[in-house]
Protein backbone atom coordinates (compact mmCIF):
# COMPACT_ATOMS: atom_id res chain seq x y z
CA UNK A 1 0.00 0.00 0.00
CA UNK A 2 1.17 3.48 -0.82
CA UNK A 3 -0.23 6.46 1.08
CA UNK A 4 -3.45 4.53 1.57
CA UNK A 5 -3.78 3.76 -2.16
CA UNK A 6 -3.71 0.23 -3.57
CA UNK A 7 -0.31 -0.70 -5.08
CA UNK A 8 -0.38 -2.14 -8.56
CA UNK A 9 3.38 -2.80 -8.48
CA UNK A 10 5.03 -4.29 -5.42
CA UNK A 11 8.68 -5.24 -5.57
CA UNK A 12 10.36 -6.62 -2.45
CA UNK A 13 14.09 -7.24 -2.12
CA UNK A 14 14.43 -7.75 -5.83
CA UNK A 15 17.83 -8.80 -7.15
CA UNK A 16 18.70 -9.38 -10.75
CA UNK A 17 21.98 -10.94 -11.78
CA UNK A 18 23.16 -11.49 -15.32
CA UNK A 19 26.16 -13.55 -16.28
CA UNK A 20 28.84 -12.51 -18.74
CA UNK A 21 30.42 -15.87 -19.28
CA UNK A 22 30.98 -17.09 -15.71
CA UNK A 23 31.15 -13.56 -14.34
CA UNK A 24 28.02 -12.49 -12.43
CA UNK A 25 26.87 -8.91 -12.95
CA UNK A 26 24.50 -7.49 -10.34
CA UNK A 27 22.09 -5.30 -12.29
CA UNK A 28 19.49 -4.76 -9.56
CA UNK A 29 20.27 -4.96 -5.86
CA UNK A 30 17.68 -5.24 -3.14
CA UNK A 31 15.11 -3.10 -4.89
CA UNK A 32 11.91 -2.30 -3.01
CA UNK A 33 9.35 -0.41 -5.01
CA UNK A 34 5.65 0.18 -4.74
CA UNK A 35 3.67 1.97 -7.41
CA UNK A 36 0.11 3.03 -6.79
CA UNK A 37 -2.70 2.11 -9.15
CA UNK A 38 -3.20 5.06 -11.47
CA UNK A 39 0.25 6.53 -10.82
CA UNK A 40 2.50 8.14 -13.42
CA UNK A 41 6.07 7.33 -12.33
CA UNK A 42 9.32 8.01 -14.09
CA UNK A 43 12.43 5.87 -13.68
CA UNK A 44 15.58 7.82 -14.33
CA UNK A 45 19.25 7.16 -13.92
CA UNK A 46 22.48 6.90 -15.89
CA UNK A 47 23.01 4.31 -18.59
CA UNK A 48 23.58 0.86 -17.11
CA UNK A 49 21.86 1.75 -13.85
CA UNK A 50 19.23 -0.97 -14.34
CA UNK A 51 16.23 1.13 -15.42
CA UNK A 52 15.27 -1.01 -18.38
CA UNK A 53 15.88 -4.21 -16.42
CA UNK A 54 13.54 -2.96 -13.70
CA UNK A 55 10.95 -2.02 -16.31
CA UNK A 56 11.27 -5.46 -17.92
CA UNK A 57 10.67 -7.12 -14.56
CA UNK A 58 7.56 -5.04 -13.94
CA UNK A 59 6.31 -5.83 -17.45
CA UNK A 60 6.79 -9.57 -17.03
CA UNK A 61 9.39 -9.79 -19.78
CA UNK A 62 11.90 -11.09 -17.23
CA UNK A 63 11.82 -12.48 -13.71
CA UNK A 64 13.94 -11.50 -10.67
CA UNK A 65 16.89 -13.64 -9.60
CA UNK A 66 15.53 -13.29 -6.08
CA UNK A 67 12.86 -11.33 -4.25
CA UNK A 68 9.20 -11.00 -5.10
CA UNK A 69 7.43 -9.08 -7.83
CA UNK A 70 3.69 -8.76 -7.46
CA UNK A 71 2.24 -6.89 -10.39
CA UNK A 72 -1.50 -6.25 -10.74
CA UNK A 73 -2.06 -8.91 -8.10
CA UNK A 74 0.03 -11.59 -9.82
CA UNK A 75 3.26 -12.96 -8.37
CA UNK A 76 5.47 -13.03 -11.46
CA UNK A 77 8.16 -15.12 -9.75
CA UNK A 78 5.76 -18.09 -9.64
CA UNK A 79 4.61 -17.87 -13.22
CA UNK A 80 5.55 -20.10 -16.15
CA UNK A 81 6.64 -18.62 -19.48
CA UNK A 82 3.16 -19.19 -20.82
CA UNK A 83 1.48 -17.56 -17.84
CA UNK A 84 3.79 -14.57 -18.19
CA UNK A 85 2.73 -14.24 -21.85
CA UNK A 86 -0.93 -14.30 -20.79
CA UNK A 87 -0.17 -11.76 -18.06
CA UNK A 88 1.45 -9.38 -20.56
CA UNK A 89 -1.43 -9.82 -23.01
CA UNK A 90 -3.98 -8.91 -20.32
CA UNK A 91 -2.32 -6.39 -18.04
CA UNK A 92 0.51 -4.63 -19.84
CA UNK A 93 0.72 -2.14 -22.67
CA UNK A 94 4.18 -1.59 -24.18
CA UNK A 95 5.55 1.62 -25.64
CA UNK A 96 9.07 1.30 -27.04
CA UNK A 97 11.63 3.95 -27.88
CA UNK A 98 11.75 2.96 -31.56
CA UNK A 99 7.97 2.34 -31.82
CA UNK A 100 8.48 -1.23 -33.09
CA UNK A 101 5.47 -1.25 -35.40
CA UNK A 102 5.11 -4.04 -37.94
CA UNK A 103 6.17 -2.41 -41.21
CA UNK A 104 3.97 -4.73 -43.28
CA UNK A 105 0.79 -3.81 -41.42
CA UNK A 106 -1.25 -0.61 -41.62
CA UNK A 107 -1.68 1.59 -38.56
CA UNK A 108 -5.08 0.02 -37.93
CA UNK A 109 -3.72 -3.51 -38.28
CA UNK A 110 -0.82 -2.73 -35.95
CA UNK A 111 -3.25 -1.51 -33.34
CA UNK A 112 -5.39 -4.60 -33.84
CA UNK A 113 -2.46 -6.98 -33.22
CA UNK A 114 -2.86 -7.47 -29.42
CA UNK A 115 -6.57 -8.17 -29.96
CA UNK A 116 -5.69 -11.29 -31.97
CA UNK A 117 -5.02 -12.86 -28.57
CA UNK A 118 -8.58 -12.17 -27.40
CA UNK A 119 -11.88 -13.82 -28.22
CA UNK A 120 -13.25 -10.69 -29.89
CA UNK A 121 -14.79 -11.00 -33.34
CA UNK A 122 -13.10 -9.38 -36.34
CA UNK A 123 -15.68 -6.60 -36.32
CA UNK A 124 -15.20 -5.95 -32.58
CA UNK A 125 -11.43 -5.92 -33.01
CA UNK A 126 -11.66 -3.40 -35.82
CA UNK A 127 -14.05 -1.16 -33.88
CA UNK A 128 -11.76 -1.15 -30.85
CA UNK A 129 -8.68 -0.46 -32.97
CA UNK A 130 -10.45 2.52 -34.55
CA UNK A 131 -11.42 3.78 -31.09
CA UNK A 132 -7.81 3.51 -29.89
CA UNK A 133 -6.60 5.38 -32.96
CA UNK A 134 -9.22 8.05 -32.36
CA UNK A 135 -7.98 8.49 -28.80
CA UNK A 136 -4.45 9.14 -30.06
CA UNK A 137 -5.81 11.40 -32.84
CA UNK A 138 -4.79 9.24 -35.79
CA UNK A 139 -7.99 7.60 -36.98
CA UNK A 140 -7.69 9.33 -40.33
CA UNK A 141 -4.31 7.61 -40.82
CA UNK A 142 -5.73 4.15 -40.11
CA UNK A 143 -4.84 2.78 -43.53
CA UNK A 144 -1.33 4.25 -43.63
CA UNK A 145 1.71 2.04 -43.28
CA UNK A 146 4.38 2.99 -40.70
CA UNK A 147 6.72 4.20 -43.46
CA UNK A 148 4.06 6.74 -44.43
CA UNK A 149 3.95 8.23 -40.92
CA UNK A 150 6.23 10.63 -39.06
CA UNK A 151 8.11 9.46 -35.94
CA UNK A 152 5.60 11.18 -33.67
CA UNK A 153 2.70 9.60 -35.52
CA UNK A 154 4.33 6.19 -35.36
CA UNK A 155 4.70 6.55 -31.61
CA UNK A 156 1.04 7.52 -31.32
CA UNK A 157 0.09 4.40 -33.26
CA UNK A 158 2.30 2.44 -30.84
CA UNK A 159 0.45 4.03 -27.95
CA UNK A 160 -2.88 3.09 -29.54
CA UNK A 161 -1.56 -0.47 -29.82
CA UNK A 162 -0.56 -0.34 -26.14
CA UNK A 163 -4.01 0.73 -24.93
CA UNK A 164 -6.28 -1.12 -27.35
CA UNK A 165 -6.72 -4.13 -25.06
CA UNK A 166 -7.33 -1.86 -22.06
CA UNK A 167 -4.35 -2.89 -19.91
CA UNK A 168 -3.90 -1.67 -16.37
CA UNK A 169 -0.26 -0.68 -16.78
CA UNK A 170 1.57 1.10 -19.58
CA UNK A 171 5.32 0.53 -19.54
CA UNK A 172 7.19 3.08 -21.62
CA UNK A 173 10.86 2.59 -22.42
CA UNK A 174 12.23 5.97 -23.51
CA UNK A 175 9.00 6.82 -25.37
CA UNK A 176 10.32 10.20 -26.51
CA UNK A 177 13.92 9.13 -27.11
CA UNK A 178 13.70 9.20 -30.91
CA UNK A 179 11.51 12.30 -31.21
CA UNK A 180 12.06 16.04 -31.59
CA UNK A 181 10.87 18.29 -28.77
CA UNK A 182 7.49 19.15 -30.27
CA UNK A 183 6.65 15.51 -31.04
CA UNK A 184 7.98 14.44 -27.64
CA UNK A 185 5.73 16.99 -25.91
CA UNK A 186 2.74 15.75 -27.88
CA UNK A 187 3.48 12.17 -26.81
CA UNK A 188 3.91 13.24 -23.17
CA UNK A 189 0.59 15.13 -23.38
CA UNK A 190 -1.04 11.98 -24.66
CA UNK A 191 0.47 9.85 -21.88
CA UNK A 192 -0.68 12.40 -19.32
CA UNK A 193 -4.18 12.28 -20.78
CA UNK A 194 -4.21 8.47 -20.64
CA UNK A 195 -3.23 8.73 -17.00
CA UNK A 196 -5.71 11.48 -16.12
CA UNK A 197 -8.74 10.45 -18.18
CA UNK A 198 -8.33 6.71 -18.54
CA UNK A 199 -6.61 6.10 -15.20
CA UNK A 200 -3.82 4.06 -16.72
CA UNK A 201 -0.82 3.41 -14.50
CA UNK A 202 2.20 4.67 -16.39
CA UNK A 203 5.77 3.66 -15.66
CA UNK A 204 8.22 5.46 -17.88
CA UNK A 205 11.95 5.01 -18.23
CA UNK A 206 13.56 8.16 -19.56
CA UNK A 207 16.79 10.08 -19.86
CA UNK A 208 14.90 13.24 -20.68
CA UNK A 209 14.48 15.50 -17.58
CA UNK A 210 11.60 17.38 -19.25
CA UNK A 211 9.78 14.09 -19.80
CA UNK A 212 10.52 12.99 -16.24
CA UNK A 213 9.00 16.21 -14.86
CA UNK A 214 5.63 15.20 -16.37
CA UNK A 215 5.52 12.20 -13.98
CA UNK A 216 3.92 12.40 -10.53
CA UNK A 217 6.96 10.74 -9.03
CA UNK A 218 10.52 10.29 -10.13
CA UNK A 219 12.44 7.20 -9.01
CA UNK A 220 16.22 7.38 -9.37
CA UNK A 221 18.24 4.29 -10.01
CA UNK A 222 21.99 4.16 -9.71
CA UNK A 223 24.17 1.08 -9.92
CA UNK A 224 21.12 -1.14 -9.52
CA UNK A 225 19.80 0.55 -6.41
CA UNK A 226 16.81 2.83 -5.94
CA UNK A 227 17.46 6.17 -4.28
Amino acid sequence: MLDGMASIVELHAVHKTFYRGNQPVQVLQNVDLAIADGAFDALIGPSGSGKSTLLNLIAGLDTPSSGTAIIAGSDLTRMTRRELARFRADKIGFIFQSYNLMPVLTALENVELPLLLTRLTARERRTRAHTALRIVGLDERAQHFPRQLSGGQEQRVAIARAIVHDPQILVCDEPTGDLDRASADAILDLLQRLNDEFKKTIIMVTHDPIAARRAHRICRLDKGQLH
Binding site: N56, R81, A85, A89, P103, V104, L117, A122, R126
Partner: protein, 389 residues
Amino acid sequence: MTRWTLVRRTLTRNPLRTTLTLLGVAVAVITFVALRTVLDAWSTGADYAAKDRLSTRHKVSYGLPLPKRYVDDIATQIPGVSKVTFCDWFGGRWAKAPNEFFANLACDSDAFAVYPEMQVDPRTLEAWKHDKQGAIIGDVLARKLGLKAGDRMTLQGSFYPGDWELRIVGTYTAPAHSPVDRSTLFFRWDYKNERVPERQRDLIGWVFTRVDDPASSARVSRAIDALFDDRDVRTATTSERSSNSTLLGGVSAILSALDIVSIIVLTIMALILGNTIAMGVREQTTEYGVLLALGFEPRDIGLLIVAEAIGLSLAGGLLGLVLAYPLVQLGLGQWLELNVGKFFPVFRISQTTALIVVGLTIVLGALAALVPAMRVGRMSVIDAIRRPA
Protein backbone atom coordinates in the same frame (compact mmCIF):
# COMPACT_ATOMS: atom_id res chain seq x y z
CA MET B 1 -7.08 -8.61 -39.77
CA THR B 2 -6.12 -12.18 -38.94
CA ARG B 3 -2.82 -13.93 -38.32
CA TRP B 4 -2.95 -14.98 -41.95
CA THR B 5 -2.82 -11.28 -42.90
CA LEU B 6 0.50 -11.05 -41.09
CA VAL B 7 1.80 -14.15 -42.87
CA ARG B 8 0.64 -12.89 -46.26
CA ARG B 9 2.11 -9.44 -45.79
CA THR B 10 5.40 -10.84 -44.53
CA LEU B 11 5.68 -12.93 -47.68
CA THR B 12 5.42 -9.80 -49.81
CA ARG B 13 7.79 -7.76 -47.64
CA ASN B 14 10.77 -8.35 -49.91
CA PRO B 15 9.24 -8.85 -53.38
CA LEU B 16 12.55 -9.58 -55.13
CA ARG B 17 13.59 -12.26 -52.64
CA THR B 18 10.13 -13.78 -52.60
CA THR B 19 9.98 -13.81 -56.41
CA LEU B 20 13.41 -15.40 -56.73
CA THR B 21 12.54 -18.03 -54.13
CA LEU B 22 9.23 -18.74 -55.83
CA LEU B 23 11.03 -19.16 -59.14
CA GLY B 24 13.68 -21.37 -57.51
CA VAL B 25 11.00 -23.62 -56.03
CA ALA B 26 9.04 -23.56 -59.29
CA VAL B 27 12.08 -24.61 -61.34
CA ALA B 28 12.82 -27.39 -58.85
CA VAL B 29 9.21 -28.55 -59.07
CA ILE B 30 9.22 -28.46 -62.89
CA THR B 31 12.41 -30.56 -62.90
CA PHE B 32 10.93 -32.94 -60.36
CA VAL B 33 7.70 -33.26 -62.34
CA ALA B 34 9.64 -33.85 -65.58
CA LEU B 35 11.72 -36.60 -63.94
CA ARG B 36 8.71 -38.27 -62.32
CA THR B 37 6.82 -38.12 -65.61
CA VAL B 38 9.75 -39.71 -67.44
CA LEU B 39 9.70 -42.52 -64.87
CA ASP B 40 5.91 -42.85 -65.14
CA ALA B 41 5.97 -42.81 -68.93
CA TRP B 42 8.70 -45.42 -69.01
CA SER B 43 6.76 -47.81 -66.86
CA THR B 44 3.41 -47.11 -68.56
CA GLY B 45 4.18 -49.61 -71.31
CA ALA B 46 4.75 -52.38 -68.80
CA ASP B 47 1.64 -51.46 -66.83
CA TYR B 48 -0.62 -51.44 -69.86
CA ALA B 49 0.79 -54.51 -71.56
CA ALA B 50 -1.80 -57.07 -72.59
CA LYS B 51 -1.85 -60.12 -70.37
CA ASP B 52 -2.86 -62.46 -73.16
CA ARG B 53 -0.02 -61.56 -75.54
CA LEU B 54 3.29 -63.37 -75.75
CA SER B 55 6.47 -62.31 -77.44
CA THR B 56 8.97 -64.84 -78.78
CA ARG B 57 12.52 -63.92 -79.79
CA HIS B 58 15.90 -65.53 -80.36
CA LYS B 59 17.11 -66.96 -77.07
CA VAL B 60 20.53 -65.33 -77.37
CA SER B 61 19.62 -61.78 -78.31
CA TYR B 62 16.91 -59.43 -79.49
CA GLY B 63 19.10 -58.68 -82.49
CA LEU B 64 19.24 -62.23 -83.89
CA PRO B 65 16.50 -63.45 -86.24
CA LEU B 66 14.14 -66.40 -86.04
CA PRO B 67 13.11 -68.61 -88.94
CA LYS B 68 9.73 -67.60 -90.37
CA ARG B 69 8.51 -71.21 -90.21
CA TYR B 70 8.36 -70.93 -86.42
CA VAL B 71 5.18 -68.87 -86.85
CA ASP B 72 3.37 -71.77 -88.46
CA ASP B 73 4.82 -74.21 -85.95
CA ILE B 74 3.43 -72.19 -83.08
CA ALA B 75 0.06 -71.73 -84.74
CA THR B 76 -0.37 -75.40 -85.51
CA GLN B 77 1.40 -77.23 -82.69
CA ILE B 78 0.73 -75.24 -79.54
CA PRO B 79 -2.70 -75.64 -77.94
CA GLY B 80 -4.37 -72.52 -76.47
CA VAL B 81 -3.08 -70.16 -79.15
CA SER B 82 -5.69 -67.96 -80.81
CA LYS B 83 -3.61 -65.81 -83.18
CA VAL B 84 0.01 -65.63 -84.26
CA THR B 85 1.81 -62.89 -86.15
CA PHE B 86 5.34 -61.62 -86.63
CA CYS B 87 7.45 -58.57 -87.32
CA ASP B 88 10.97 -57.66 -88.24
CA TRP B 89 12.89 -54.52 -87.38
CA PHE B 90 13.70 -52.86 -90.70
CA GLY B 91 15.63 -49.83 -89.49
CA GLY B 92 15.25 -47.75 -92.65
CA ARG B 93 15.38 -43.99 -93.03
CA TRP B 94 13.12 -41.81 -95.08
CA ALA B 95 15.10 -40.72 -98.14
CA LYS B 96 13.45 -37.31 -98.06
CA ALA B 97 14.44 -36.62 -94.44
CA PRO B 98 17.15 -39.08 -93.35
CA ASN B 99 17.58 -37.38 -89.98
CA GLU B 100 13.97 -38.02 -88.97
CA PHE B 101 14.16 -41.14 -86.86
CA PHE B 102 11.07 -43.31 -86.59
CA ALA B 103 10.49 -47.00 -86.03
CA ASN B 104 9.68 -48.97 -89.18
CA LEU B 105 8.78 -52.61 -89.12
CA ALA B 106 8.21 -55.23 -91.80
CA CYS B 107 5.18 -57.18 -90.61
CA ASP B 108 2.71 -59.84 -91.38
CA SER B 109 -0.40 -58.36 -93.00
CA ASP B 110 -2.42 -59.81 -90.07
CA ALA B 111 -0.29 -58.05 -87.46
CA PHE B 112 -3.05 -55.63 -86.48
CA ALA B 113 -5.31 -58.54 -85.52
CA VAL B 114 -2.96 -59.28 -82.62
CA TYR B 115 -2.90 -55.60 -81.62
CA PRO B 116 -6.56 -54.56 -81.42
CA GLU B 117 -5.61 -51.42 -79.46
CA MET B 118 -4.19 -50.09 -82.73
CA GLN B 119 -7.25 -48.84 -84.56
CA VAL B 120 -7.15 -49.25 -88.33
CA ASP B 121 -9.98 -48.59 -90.73
CA PRO B 122 -11.09 -51.96 -92.27
CA ARG B 123 -10.78 -50.45 -95.77
CA THR B 124 -7.18 -49.50 -94.99
CA LEU B 125 -6.47 -53.04 -93.81
CA GLU B 126 -8.08 -54.44 -96.93
CA ALA B 127 -6.01 -52.12 -99.11
CA TRP B 128 -2.85 -53.16 -97.25
CA LYS B 129 -3.53 -56.84 -97.84
CA HIS B 130 -3.88 -56.20 -101.56
CA ASP B 131 -0.86 -53.95 -101.95
CA LYS B 132 2.51 -55.57 -101.30
CA GLN B 133 4.23 -52.17 -101.18
CA GLY B 134 1.54 -50.74 -98.96
CA ALA B 135 2.38 -49.19 -95.60
CA ILE B 136 0.30 -48.17 -92.61
CA ILE B 137 1.64 -45.28 -90.63
CA GLY B 138 0.82 -43.98 -87.14
CA ASP B 139 -1.35 -40.87 -87.30
CA VAL B 140 1.08 -38.87 -85.11
CA LEU B 141 4.02 -39.75 -87.37
CA ALA B 142 1.96 -39.06 -90.48
CA ARG B 143 1.17 -35.57 -89.23
CA LYS B 144 4.79 -35.00 -88.35
CA LEU B 145 6.09 -36.13 -91.74
CA GLY B 146 3.19 -34.58 -93.66
CA LEU B 147 2.15 -37.89 -95.20
CA LYS B 148 -1.32 -39.09 -96.07
CA ALA B 149 -3.01 -42.04 -97.74
CA GLY B 150 -1.93 -42.34 -101.36
CA ASP B 151 1.49 -40.73 -100.82
CA ARG B 152 4.61 -42.55 -101.86
CA MET B 153 7.74 -42.71 -99.79
CA THR B 154 11.18 -44.25 -100.15
CA LEU B 155 12.94 -45.91 -97.27
CA GLN B 156 16.69 -46.29 -97.44
CA GLY B 157 17.56 -49.56 -95.77
CA SER B 158 20.46 -49.99 -93.38
CA PHE B 159 20.17 -53.66 -92.36
CA TYR B 160 18.64 -54.26 -95.77
CA PRO B 161 20.44 -51.92 -98.18
CA GLY B 162 18.74 -50.28 -101.12
CA ASP B 163 15.76 -48.05 -101.78
CA TRP B 164 12.39 -49.43 -100.70
CA GLU B 165 9.43 -47.86 -102.41
CA LEU B 166 6.31 -47.76 -100.27
CA ARG B 167 2.80 -46.43 -100.73
CA ILE B 168 0.86 -45.14 -97.73
CA VAL B 169 -2.50 -46.91 -97.67
CA GLY B 170 -3.72 -45.32 -94.48
CA THR B 171 -3.04 -44.60 -90.84
CA TYR B 172 -3.59 -46.32 -87.52
CA THR B 173 -4.52 -44.51 -84.37
CA ALA B 174 -5.31 -45.28 -80.73
CA PRO B 175 -7.62 -43.89 -78.07
CA ALA B 176 -6.39 -40.65 -76.46
CA HIS B 177 -3.98 -41.18 -73.53
CA SER B 178 -3.51 -44.87 -74.38
CA PRO B 179 0.09 -46.07 -74.22
CA VAL B 180 0.12 -47.14 -77.87
CA ASP B 181 2.98 -45.64 -79.85
CA ARG B 182 1.42 -43.79 -82.80
CA SER B 183 4.71 -43.01 -84.48
CA THR B 184 5.59 -46.28 -86.19
CA LEU B 185 5.49 -47.28 -89.84
CA PHE B 186 4.42 -50.80 -90.77
CA PHE B 187 4.91 -52.30 -94.20
CA ARG B 188 4.61 -55.79 -95.65
CA TRP B 189 7.22 -58.33 -94.63
CA ASP B 190 6.68 -60.34 -97.85
CA TYR B 191 7.74 -57.25 -99.88
CA LYS B 192 10.96 -57.11 -97.90
CA ASN B 193 11.44 -60.87 -98.06
CA GLU B 194 11.24 -60.94 -101.83
CA ARG B 195 13.98 -58.36 -102.29
CA VAL B 196 16.57 -59.35 -99.70
CA PRO B 197 19.50 -61.58 -100.53
CA GLU B 198 18.98 -65.31 -100.20
CA ARG B 199 20.81 -65.54 -96.85
CA GLN B 200 18.41 -63.00 -95.29
CA ARG B 201 15.26 -64.60 -96.61
CA ASP B 202 12.50 -66.15 -94.49
CA LEU B 203 13.82 -64.61 -91.33
CA ILE B 204 11.83 -62.57 -88.83
CA GLY B 205 12.55 -60.65 -85.63
CA TRP B 206 9.75 -61.67 -83.27
CA VAL B 207 6.68 -63.80 -83.11
CA PHE B 208 3.67 -62.39 -81.29
CA THR B 209 1.09 -64.83 -79.99
CA ARG B 210 -2.30 -64.27 -78.46
CA VAL B 211 -3.59 -66.95 -76.15
CA ASP B 212 -7.20 -67.96 -75.58
CA ASP B 213 -6.97 -67.57 -71.83
CA PRO B 214 -4.58 -65.08 -70.12
CA ALA B 215 -4.27 -67.56 -67.24
CA SER B 216 -2.61 -70.03 -69.59
CA SER B 217 0.10 -67.53 -70.71
CA ALA B 218 2.83 -69.14 -68.63
CA ARG B 219 1.99 -72.63 -69.86
CA VAL B 220 1.86 -71.56 -73.50
CA SER B 221 5.19 -69.68 -73.10
CA ARG B 222 6.86 -72.81 -71.79
CA ALA B 223 5.28 -74.92 -74.53
CA ILE B 224 6.58 -72.59 -77.29
CA ASP B 225 10.14 -72.62 -75.95
CA ALA B 226 9.98 -76.38 -75.42
CA LEU B 227 8.89 -76.83 -79.03
CA PHE B 228 12.11 -75.23 -80.29
CA ASP B 229 14.41 -76.55 -77.59
CA ASP B 230 16.04 -79.09 -79.85
CA ARG B 231 16.24 -76.85 -82.94
CA ASP B 232 19.23 -74.84 -84.17
CA VAL B 233 17.60 -71.60 -83.09
CA ARG B 234 16.17 -71.74 -79.60
CA THR B 235 13.62 -69.21 -78.40
CA ALA B 236 12.80 -67.14 -75.37
CA THR B 237 9.09 -66.48 -74.89
CA THR B 238 7.70 -64.10 -72.33
CA SER B 239 4.44 -62.36 -71.70
CA GLU B 240 4.32 -58.85 -73.11
CA ARG B 241 4.27 -57.47 -69.59
CA SER B 242 7.29 -59.49 -68.58
CA SER B 243 9.04 -58.53 -71.80
CA ASN B 244 8.42 -54.86 -71.11
CA SER B 245 9.58 -55.28 -67.53
CA THR B 246 12.78 -56.93 -68.78
CA LEU B 247 13.30 -53.97 -71.08
CA LEU B 248 12.77 -51.68 -68.08
CA GLY B 249 15.21 -53.79 -66.08
CA GLY B 250 17.82 -53.01 -68.68
CA VAL B 251 17.49 -49.33 -67.96
CA SER B 252 16.93 -49.71 -64.23
CA ALA B 253 20.23 -47.99 -63.50
CA ILE B 254 19.06 -44.95 -65.47
CA LEU B 255 15.71 -45.01 -63.69
CA SER B 256 17.44 -45.24 -60.31
CA ALA B 257 19.68 -42.34 -61.29
CA LEU B 258 16.61 -40.29 -62.24
CA ASP B 259 15.08 -41.15 -58.87
CA ILE B 260 18.21 -39.97 -57.08
CA VAL B 261 18.34 -36.78 -59.16
CA SER B 262 14.72 -36.03 -58.26
CA ILE B 263 15.61 -36.39 -54.56
CA ILE B 264 18.61 -34.08 -55.04
CA VAL B 265 16.34 -31.54 -56.74
CA LEU B 266 13.99 -31.63 -53.75
CA THR B 267 16.90 -31.24 -51.34
CA ILE B 268 18.08 -28.17 -53.25
CA MET B 269 14.55 -26.82 -53.09
CA ALA B 270 14.42 -27.34 -49.31
CA LEU B 271 17.79 -25.57 -48.94
CA ILE B 272 16.62 -22.59 -51.02
CA LEU B 273 13.52 -22.34 -48.87
CA GLY B 274 15.44 -22.81 -45.63
CA ASN B 275 17.85 -20.03 -46.59
CA THR B 276 15.02 -17.62 -47.45
CA ILE B 277 13.12 -18.39 -44.27
CA ALA B 278 16.25 -18.10 -42.12
CA MET B 279 17.07 -14.71 -43.67
CA GLY B 280 13.51 -13.51 -43.14
CA VAL B 281 13.46 -14.71 -39.54
CA ARG B 282 16.79 -13.03 -38.81
CA GLU B 283 15.48 -9.74 -40.19
CA GLN B 284 12.23 -10.00 -38.28
CA THR B 285 13.64 -11.10 -34.93
CA THR B 286 12.84 -7.72 -33.35
CA GLU B 287 9.29 -7.91 -34.64
CA TYR B 288 8.91 -11.40 -33.23
CA GLY B 289 10.27 -10.03 -29.94
CA VAL B 290 7.58 -7.34 -29.99
CA LEU B 291 4.90 -9.96 -30.65
CA LEU B 292 6.21 -11.96 -27.69
CA ALA B 293 6.14 -8.83 -25.55
CA LEU B 294 2.52 -8.23 -26.57
CA GLY B 295 1.63 -11.67 -25.22
CA PHE B 296 2.06 -13.97 -28.21
CA GLU B 297 3.62 -17.28 -27.20
CA PRO B 298 6.70 -18.83 -28.83
CA ARG B 299 4.36 -21.44 -30.28
CA ASP B 300 2.35 -18.68 -32.01
CA ILE B 301 5.53 -17.24 -33.52
CA GLY B 302 6.69 -20.70 -34.58
CA LEU B 303 3.38 -21.28 -36.33
CA LEU B 304 3.67 -17.92 -38.10
CA ILE B 305 7.13 -18.88 -39.39
CA VAL B 306 5.98 -22.34 -40.45
CA ALA B 307 2.93 -20.83 -42.16
CA GLU B 308 5.18 -18.37 -44.02
CA ALA B 309 7.44 -21.18 -45.16
CA ILE B 310 4.58 -23.43 -46.22
CA GLY B 311 2.87 -20.50 -47.96
CA LEU B 312 6.02 -19.70 -49.90
CA SER B 313 6.78 -23.32 -50.68
CA LEU B 314 3.22 -24.12 -51.72
CA ALA B 315 2.95 -21.02 -53.89
CA GLY B 316 6.23 -21.96 -55.60
CA GLY B 317 5.09 -25.55 -55.93
CA LEU B 318 1.76 -24.60 -57.49
CA LEU B 319 3.50 -22.12 -59.80
CA GLY B 320 5.88 -24.90 -60.85
CA LEU B 321 2.98 -27.28 -61.36
CA VAL B 322 1.04 -24.77 -63.45
CA LEU B 323 4.12 -24.10 -65.58
CA ALA B 324 4.93 -27.81 -65.79
CA TYR B 325 1.76 -28.57 -67.74
CA PRO B 326 2.63 -26.43 -70.77
CA LEU B 327 6.38 -27.04 -70.49
CA VAL B 328 6.57 -30.70 -69.55
CA GLN B 329 3.29 -32.13 -70.82
CA LEU B 330 2.62 -30.05 -73.91
CA GLY B 331 6.18 -29.07 -74.82
CA LEU B 332 8.61 -31.82 -73.87
CA GLY B 333 5.86 -34.44 -73.68
CA GLN B 334 4.54 -33.87 -77.18
CA TRP B 335 8.07 -33.81 -78.56
CA LEU B 336 8.90 -37.12 -76.85
CA GLU B 337 5.64 -38.75 -77.92
CA LEU B 338 6.28 -37.62 -81.46
CA ASN B 339 9.94 -38.48 -81.69
CA VAL B 340 10.50 -41.36 -79.27
CA GLY B 341 6.95 -42.55 -78.80
CA LYS B 342 8.23 -46.10 -78.64
CA PHE B 343 9.70 -45.34 -75.20
CA PHE B 344 7.33 -42.57 -74.11
CA PRO B 345 3.98 -43.45 -75.68
CA VAL B 346 2.06 -41.48 -73.04
CA PHE B 347 3.93 -38.56 -71.53
CA ARG B 348 1.35 -37.05 -69.17
CA ILE B 349 1.76 -35.54 -65.73
CA SER B 350 -0.11 -37.96 -63.53
CA GLN B 351 -2.51 -36.91 -60.80
CA THR B 352 -0.28 -38.78 -58.36
CA THR B 353 2.74 -36.66 -59.37
CA ALA B 354 0.69 -33.47 -58.90
CA LEU B 355 -0.46 -34.64 -55.47
CA ILE B 356 3.11 -35.62 -54.52
CA VAL B 357 4.25 -32.10 -55.47
CA VAL B 358 1.56 -30.50 -53.30
CA GLY B 359 2.33 -32.82 -50.39
CA LEU B 360 6.09 -32.47 -50.65
CA THR B 361 6.03 -28.68 -50.91
CA ILE B 362 3.98 -28.56 -47.70
CA VAL B 363 6.29 -31.00 -45.89
CA LEU B 364 9.52 -29.39 -47.17
CA GLY B 365 8.19 -25.91 -46.35
CA ALA B 366 7.49 -27.01 -42.79
CA LEU B 367 10.91 -28.67 -42.51
CA ALA B 368 12.65 -25.56 -43.85
CA ALA B 369 10.97 -23.49 -41.12
CA LEU B 370 11.69 -25.90 -38.31
CA VAL B 371 15.15 -24.71 -37.25
CA PRO B 372 14.45 -20.94 -37.54
CA ALA B 373 11.15 -21.38 -35.68
CA MET B 374 12.84 -23.34 -32.89
CA ARG B 375 15.55 -20.70 -32.57
CA VAL B 376 13.02 -17.92 -32.14
CA GLY B 377 11.10 -20.07 -29.68
CA ARG B 378 14.19 -20.43 -27.48
CA MET B 379 15.13 -16.74 -27.61
CA SER B 380 14.30 -14.51 -24.65
CA VAL B 381 11.84 -11.70 -25.36
CA ILE B 382 14.37 -9.05 -24.38
CA ASP B 383 17.12 -10.49 -26.58
CA ALA B 384 14.69 -10.71 -29.48
CA ILE B 385 13.56 -7.08 -29.12
CA ARG B 386 17.11 -5.78 -28.80
CA ARG B 387 18.64 -7.88 -31.52
CA PRO B 388 19.70 -5.74 -34.47
CA ALA B 389 18.24 -6.84 -37.81
